[in-house]
């Protein structure tokens, strides 16, 4: 076995091995203390380093051409690893001792699953990775074993299973029609024999992905699950597995669907528009901060989905001189924008959920009915200044106020929409950003403008470290976006070769 040949995949291998190791350790040691946490941390850092060394690798195929390591996969892997890393840092204080080994093992396995998805160019591997991540996260969603957790996990599991069933059904239909499971082959074969069956198959597949992305009307599990699961798991869900859905969608939709030149983008435009608006509107009424964040994630998924519309509208169009980046086609810019927003949103949402975890963990010590109720955030600025400030930055970033990562992602994405002639969609998106201010400002005003609802909170180190790192990342991307824009464009090139 030529291991060095598989060098780009060492990260996945390491994490898998580490997961097994942690489980073994947990079984053998009575109280493993913080060891699983630190081991995961080390493993994730190593994997991240590996990915970082390979960021702009030329597409390399492995395992009978089912796994492709290219710039796009590295982008997504970087996102997943960063998110997992942040979650692990925050979890170090919470999940220790007995039972923590399972948590970290599941987390690592979920990360591996996501990484596989981002690399797959084959339907089967895609499914395997997808399910690996999904099953791990189903279990994690029930981890704290409270009633709420169980309800959240059940809903997630049931809904997820149904969508997976659809997805698999779609995959099998595609295989049946085209005779191969490789995406490239599917694409090539579908161009000739496109018919109603292909359409239905693809839509089933989309349903499966849309579930993970939480696009309307496949979003209904999200508010309950994000609210009910342990906060750090919600972070992983919102920032990690949602992006996995996008990764899969990019691979499949863009390679397979576009080849067929179906003008489906109108339907998706409506979908994206409805998702944005519904997410933002519903969030205005919520009193539970995690639900607000859940709806906000739904709305953000709507923004990101604009990329699909852009690709559909502008596929194959001649390259135009885009911004000042050189000659790029608008569809590529759209994907780049989506990628930027994915990166930014991953950071922002992870941070926001970790912040909510911090507040909830303190409040649940006293007997509050709902630790995530917004009234617990009153006067947070004086009770937990670091957390409040980081949350402030996250809220502003999510609202798209410059100079933050959220603003840059939205800017590139909306410009691509304008370039491809979808000005109405860009305008609608910007107006939605204004609407989203309503609930972001609400949280901010509770934190900073209201009288404190309780005593000073001792901010635990793990949470603080994670929050500050995330916040710095969000601001850094916003102030020095150049390198990130270039990176995203490079990654986008993989999908749409010029």
């Amino acid at each position: 076995m030529d291991f060095s040949h598989y060098a780009p995949l060492w990260g996945e291998a390491l994490l898998t091995a580490l997961a097994v190791l942690i489980l073994l350790l947990g079984a053998m040691m009575k109280n493993s203390g913080k060891l699983p946490g630190y081991l995961s941390l080390a493993g994730l850092v190593a994997a991240l380093g590996l990915v970082a060394s390979n960021l702009f690798i030329a597409p390399t195929l492995f395992f009978f051409d089912t796994i492709s390591v290219d710039a796009l996969s590295q982008f997504f892997k970087a996102v997943f690893l960063i998110v997992s890393l942040l979650v692990v840092i925050a979890s170090l204080s919470k999940y220790t001792g007995k039972g923590s080994d399972e948590f970290f093992a599941l987390l690592l396995l979920a990360t591996v699953g996501m990484m596989i998805v981002s690399s797959s160019v084959d339907l089967v591997t895609l499914f395997v990775g997808f399910e690996l991540a999904s099953l791990s996260t189903y279990a994690m969603a029930a981890f704290d074993k409270t009633k709420k957790n169980l309800e959240a996990a059940m809903k997630y599991f049931i809904y997820g299973s149904v969508s997976s069933a659809f997805m698999l059904f779609g995959f099998s239909l595609l295989y049946g029609m085209t005779g191969s499971t490789r995406l490239a082959d599917v694409a090539a074969a579908s161009v000739e024999s496109f018919g109603a069956a292909t359409l239905v198959a693809l839509l089933f597949v989309i349903a499966g992905f849309a579930f993970k992305m939480a696009l309307v009307p496949f979003h209904m599990w999200a508010p309950d699950t994000y609210e009910g699961a342990p906060a750090l798991v919600s972070a992983l869900l919102a920032a990690g597995s949602k992006k996995m859905g996008f990764a899969a969608a990019f691979r499949v939709l863009l390679i397979a669907l576009v080849a067929m030149r179906v003008e489906w983008y109108l339907a998706f435009a409506i979908l994206a528009a409805v998702t944005m608006t519904l997410g933002n509107l519903a969030a205005c009424w919520q009193n539970n901060v995690r639900r607000i964040l859940a709806y906000s994630s739904i709305a953000q998924a709507g923004y990101i989905a604009i990329a699909f519309v852009v690709v559909g509208a502008a596929y194959g169009d001649a390259p135009v001189n885009v911004l000042n980046l050189g000659m790029f086609p608008a569809d590529q810019l759209g994907i780049a924008g989506a990628l930027l927003l994915i990166l930014g949103h991953a950071l922002m949402k992870t941070g926001a959920f970790i912040g909510s975890a911090q507040v909830a963990s303190m409040v649940s010590k006293s007997d509050a009915e709902d630790p995530d109720d917004i009234s617990n955030y009153a006067g947070l600025a004086s009770r937990a200044p670091v957390t409040a400030f980081c949350m402030l930055i996250f809220m502003f970033a999510l609202a798209g106020i410059p100079p933050t990562a959220g603003y840059i992602g939205k800017f590139v994405l909306f410009s691509s929409a304008i370039y491809s002639g979808l000005v109405w969609l860009a305008v609608l998106a910007i107006l939605n950003s204004a609407l989203s201010l309503v609930y972001y400002l609400r949280i901010i005003s509770y934190m900073y403008l209201k009288e404190p609802a309780g005593p000073k909170i001792a901010e635990s180190k793990g949470y603080m470290a994670a929050l500050v790192l995330t916040m710095l990342g969000v601001v850094y991307i916003g102030v020095f976006p150049d390198q990130f824009i270039n990176w995203a464009l490079q990654a986008a090139t993989v999908l749409l070769p010029q």
Binding site: L203, M220, A267
Partner: protein, 312 residues
């Protein structure tokens, strides 16, 4: 207040006499300063009347009469008669009386002594102006000067430096009938007489209450200064201006600001309905999933069909 005075002359002789001189001058009593200036103006107004219309002249004569009456009403009521209240009975100090005397001298003597010199002085000021007196003499399209003969025209040019005074005098003495010339004297004296008849105890014949009383609307109007204060302050200021301000304020609060609150209420209401879709029942979620797929399939199929047919 005048109703509290009366018989002041007994105690303030100097004040009484200087006041008398001033009143006579004001009323236009012959030989006093006031008479000379009034007389000039009244004559010019008469000429204007001959040329165009007599309205200014009539008003001037009326004004002269009334001036005489009210001036001497004041003098008689204040300085003659019985005391009507318990007021301080002493003369003013010389610092106040001094100027009074000086002014009284002027009120009496300046007219006949310095009239012509004064006119010359005024005219000399206009030397530097390029004023065409012929044009100035045209009022309402009628040339005052032409009406009164060619001699006047010579007189105009010759006395251009001396200005209108001389010319007017020259004309006036030609054309104005005697009774008109005498009218200012009659009017002044007549006015004083009337005032005396009403208010001078020595010759008092009539009583003011026979002419007017408290209920008299004309008197009320005059007392209130033609209701100027009521109109200006009451109607215009408090009514129109402040009323506009209050109306604007209401408009601002209800409408210009109101639509904002209405908009936000509407959005939140709409959002409230939207959130009810999330029922919490997982079976509903999955149903929605199925429905979603079905709708998507139909939508996309419809779109591709429409495209093939050529609708889109």
């Amino acid at each position: 207040m005048m109703r509290e005075m009366g018989g002041v002359g007994k105690y303030m002789k100097w004040t009484m006499y200087t006041m008398l001189i001033g009143s006579l001058s004001l009323a236009g009593f012959p030989l006093f300063t006031g008479f000379f200036s009034k007389d000039e103006i009244i004559m010019i107004a008469y000429e204007y009347g001959i040329a165009i219309n007599f309205l200014p002249y009539i008003f001037l004569i009326l004004a002269a009469v009334l001036t005489a009456i009210y001036t001497f009403r004041m003098w008689f009521s204040v300085f003659t008669g019985k005391e009507r209240s318990n007021y301080g009975k002493h003369e003013s100090p010389w610092v106040m009386l001094g100027p009074l005397v000086i002014l009284a001298i002027f009120a009496f003597a300046f007219g006949f002594a310095a009239q012509h010199d004064f006119y010359n002085y005024l005219d000399s000021n206009f030397e530097h102006y390029d004023m065409d007196f012929v044009e100035l003499g045209i009022i309402g399209g009628h040339a005052l000067i032409e009406e009164h003969g060619a001699a006047a025209e010579e007189g105009e040019h010759a006395s251009a430096e001396e200005g209108h005074g001389a010319a007017a005098e020259g004309e006036g003495s030609h054309a104005i009938p005697l009774h008109i010339q005498l009218l200012p004297y009659i009017v002044a004296l007549g006015g004083i007489l009337i005032a005396a008849l009403f208010y001078w105890d020595r010759v008092k014949k009539f009583d003011p209450s026979q002419v007017t009383g408290d209920k008299d609307p004309i008197r009320k109007m005059l007392l209130k200064g033609y209701y100027q204060h009521e109109i200006m302050t009451g109607w215009i200021c408090e009514g129109i201006v402040y009323g506009t301000a209050l109306i604007s304020n209401t408009i601002d609060i209800k409408i210009v600001d109101g639509w904002l609150n209405w908009l936000s209420a509407w959005v939140m209401g709409f959002a409230g309905h939207v959130r009810k879709v999330q029922t919490g029942v997982v079976q509903n979620y999955v149903t929605a999933l199925m429905l979603g797929i079905v709708v998507l399939v139909i939508a996309i199929a419809a779109i591709s069909l429409a495209m093939e047919v050529g609708l889109i």
